[in-house]
Amino acid sequence: SSSSSTGTASAPQDYNSYTSYSNTTDPYSAYSGYYNGYQQQTNNQYSQQQPNPSYSQPVEAYQNTGAAYQPNSSFQNTGSYAGTASYSTTYYNPGNYQTSGGYPSSGYNNQPTAWNNGSYANYTSYQYPNYTSDTSSAYSSVSAPATYQQQYKQWPEYYSQTEVTCAPGTEHLSAASNSNHGSSLPTSLPPPPPLPPPSLTPTWRPETSSSELPSMQPGGAASGAHDNYWNQPAPSFQTHLAAPTQPIYQNSLDSKTSYENFQELKTAPQGLNSQYPVVHQVSQNYQSTLPTVPSFDARRVSKLQIPTNPRIASNAALGIAKTEKDSYAANSAPRPAYISVSVQKPNDKMSPNNAADPMLKPTMLPKSLRGYVERAFGRYKDDDAKRAACEAYMKDIITEARADGTLYTRDWDSEPLFTVPDSLSISKANIQTPTHASIPNYNKSPVRRSKSRWEPLAEEKMLEKPVSASNEIGKYGSWDRKTFSGYSATKDNSLSSFRFSGPQQRTPSKSAQRPMKRQRIVNGTGLTNNDDDASSDSDKEQSLTAYYSGAMALANNPEEKKRRESRSKRFDRGQGHRPDINYFKPKNAGPANLYTRRASALMLSKSFDDSANQAVEDIDWDALTVKGTCQEIEKRFLRLTSAPDPSTVRPEDVLEKALLMVQNSQKNYLYKCDQLKSIRQDITVQRIRNQLTVKVYETHARLAMEVGDLAEYNQCQSQLQILYSEGIEGCLMEFAAYNLLCVILHSNNKKDLLTSMSRLTPEAKEDDAVKHALAVRAAVTSGNYVTFFRLYKSAPNLNTCLMDLYVEKMRYKAAVCMSKSYRPTVPISYIAQILGFSNAADENGETELSGLDECLEWLKAHGASLITDNTGEMQLDAKASSSTLYMPEPEDAVAHGDSSLAVNDFLARTT
């Protein structure tokens, strides 16, 4: 989830900036500087690529990303380009674009001009040309289809596995087929992959080598790159996507087109189909932008992409759903968090448009929901069938949430996960078989497997670094570079590493890795699969293989290789700007990683508001506070290790009942303590701070005192002091007295005592409990044991309990004092009376006697020497005792200070 959070964090910002941007068309000029750098890169790359057939490569890469396939299809669909007009409107002046209506085919030229007008000129022109070329080249080229098919195999499988239950997914595919180009793709999906995976694999290697540096290919370096690729499926994914930075633009275009198509068609089915692809593209693009383009201005990216996305989202709700599935459910895992983020943002913005498609707007999903979805799927990472079911279920939930308007308000972090019955797992098998075909590719996996996932990537990066350095900075900037870095799982890292010198490289990589690990844990599916596949889960392997085969297909394809090479050469131009871009990336990724999911949720919520850059203080914590729904009165305490789940949190009225229940309970302290702690937890997570809170803490503090559980008592006491200082009513005096006693008797810190005493108000000093506590203090400081034990007997409230804990010490001091100052003897009865052994109300002889016996036992235990005088009364031989008294080790000492809290009892309870 952490990774995803990063994505979100970065995304929102981008988005915001974007929005602002859009609002004021002119502002572009301000950014122009920024853009120029970026544009050049992209443009260069693009333009270069475009001319060459290599363009198809980008597409392929794109496809590899998995989601990309559809984008391609959509792209192909370009027939719909007419839609561009709408696109242009969003970003730039609509008028210009519209004029360029010809966009789809040759219209590009016109458009560029429009862009120029907007100060984007360079950028647009480049892109568009690229785009056109891409479309033409990619489509025309045979290789592209092949790759597509492969990809389709993988992904479709993926999807189909997951989605099988879901009609929408299939529908999408079909719809895609409907679209001009798309048809080929969809068809390819269902059937087994036309291209044998093995062939792909080989190609893949060459590609990497070629595209990267020569050095890389040979030996370790190459392997390292591969390893990276393998090890970190998610990253690789991203990289693929990222590599397509250029594709991003394409995507945007595509999306536009799709959008337009949708508009034109307006019919749901097509829209869905096209949307689906589109969405993927968008998401991919976004991802790519984030990870790869880190240096990029998020703004630019966001501008381009986002606008498109929104529309897409609005039009194709299904498409969104798809993305959702892809990113979360499906697999899952491979998908970097980035994707999800990107999707979300567009959604956010789009929301108004979305209204049209209430059903599925994956893009719209709040971050927390994403996390929720991830969690849901994470549970079934091992079981594709279940995952599929889960996905279906998920859809329902989301749709429902959207319907009743709780999509954004609900706390998904704490939403309980549903369970999926086992029965649903059938459909996948079919699809998976095709995957096997791709398995040969998988053979390589051992290599990567050899590297443990825990292993730092630094080495690889190191290898890359030198290479990159030799090649020139441009390399990094270049498309190929990106793909490679992507292999290493963290593009950012590679970039950053490049940017920074050796030692620093590692840290970035680590940070980058960390999120990955997390994902594994949380999502389980994707990453875990990759890493663990070696370990053998066949299901996982298959899915993985599928995934990899696609990737490999891209990479291996000889044509691609060539293209990449040529491309990389061209890219050298754009280098200059790259470094800067790179510089930014780490920033986005690093800090984001640090955020907790909650934090990211915050960011998201903010982005929803479209209010950019809120200060932390301005965060509306109330909106994020859990509102419990649990009606159970009894609840065991469990330390939270994640965001609280509202379904297990009790609302205030239930908590009140729970408190009453505890107060009236006859069970032992451990039970009560457990219950109270859970109440306190519920109160805390709901941020309830009122008299109930005070009551709970007071109750717990008293209970803890009664059993001498000082640790728990101190927790409550410190909380109470804060609560009282906030002006919440409670038994202030009583606890002021407790506090005094505690400081005097147990901390023995003069400074604390002085401050506590000086804080007492005159009224407080008149309070009986406080007075008593002060008297106790005086008795303790002067060592006046007689006074102490008198006060002990007359203690109000639970002062006795606190004093109890000091009694032993006081008695011992008294005994030492007496044995030194008394001669020759002291009667035991007197000692028993003075040191509080006999009960205060010792009217009847029995208690007195028992007190006496107790005193005898105590004295003996402490090494006093006792004699019997001629009247038969037991006496303490003071002189003899003065040298023999000692403090015995308490036999029943337990951490809580009370034997009744013995460990055995505790263990018995907790098991």
Binding site: K751, L753, L754, M757, A778, T781, N784, S821, P827
Partner: protein
Amino acid sequence: MAYLSMGESHRRITDYLNRFADAINYQDGDSLARLFSVSSDSPSLLSLADALNVFQDANRLIKQSEKFSQFGEVVAPFFRSLQCYRLGNLVDAYGAFEKASNAFIQEFRNWESGWALEALYVIAYEIRVLAERADRELASNGKSPEKLKGAGSFLMKVFGVLAGKGPKRVGALYVTCQLFKIYFKLGTVNLCRSVIRSIETARIFDFEEFPIRDKVTYMYYTGRLEVLNENFPAADQKLSYALTHCCLSKEANIRMILKYLIPVKLSIGILPKKQLLENYDLVEYNNIVEALKRGDLRLLRSALQENEDQFLRSGVYLVLEKLELQVYQRLLKKIYIIQKQKDPSKAHQVKLEVIVKALKWLEIEMDLDEVECIVAILIYKNLMKGYFAHKSKVVVLSKQDPFPKLNGKPVAS
């Protein structure tokens, strides 16, 4: 504020910048120090502040010439601080001043000699004073006062700059003292320990090397710490050092030292002359001393209650409270003396009833058990030699020196 022309403002600002540059160029620490002392309310700085408020673009002046621009990082925030200070915005004044100080520290770090120590002292002082005032402002606005805390950590940094080898180390004690002041004010005296450790254990510091004013301040604060720990001999030693080295003309300082030294001395059985208390306006101790002399428990208790708040705040309450045992001792000694006058042969046997009666005369109601306990404690703590016979309820005093004097030693615990 009288109207100030732009020209005049400009002149004042450049004048300041010139003086600043000169002070640094000639390594004139004293002049530099004066230029930093915001809270001194010196006329020149106040007029500069007014000029800055009129002439808003002082930064341009700084950047204009190479001569000034090199100090820009120090002077620019300092100007802002001065402006804010003049306008009564102490929170911002503190923030800007800390920024300026930070820049200055960076420079200072690079200077070989300690010529700018005087300026550093002023900065350390200003940081603390501004932080205190800023906190007051924050508190009055209902915000949490945190600037003094920030000043503490800033001064810790300054301490780090000074606490090395070389001529600058003599400045370390000054910063330490400012830190003490902050910590005592914040009530986080436990933070003093680390600074003290580096001063007292580090070889690089020869305590006698430090300026005497810093030594006195240091001893005063460490003495107070010892009072809190009820380590009376050490407290006595440190506070006495401070007292004997303190400049006699600084009566306020002497009074502060005596405020702690007197309770310490009382605890080890040394009573001050009444004249001393009156000279330094420490009359709150009068009755306590009197009670000790007379063995008047009631007087002691009333004196303590009367000044309870004051004693609690200064932190000597617990120390004074412990004098009670000495008062009991005095009381018993009086009884013993009276008995001796009556019947020397039986003087060493003091009946418990007599003591109870004596206390009753003092309007203090205590029963036999309580008094017995007190007596036992007196014997146990070696304030009285002898033993107590429980059967006969009689204190049997030693024939030799039954009431030993403390003579500078604390009461046994």
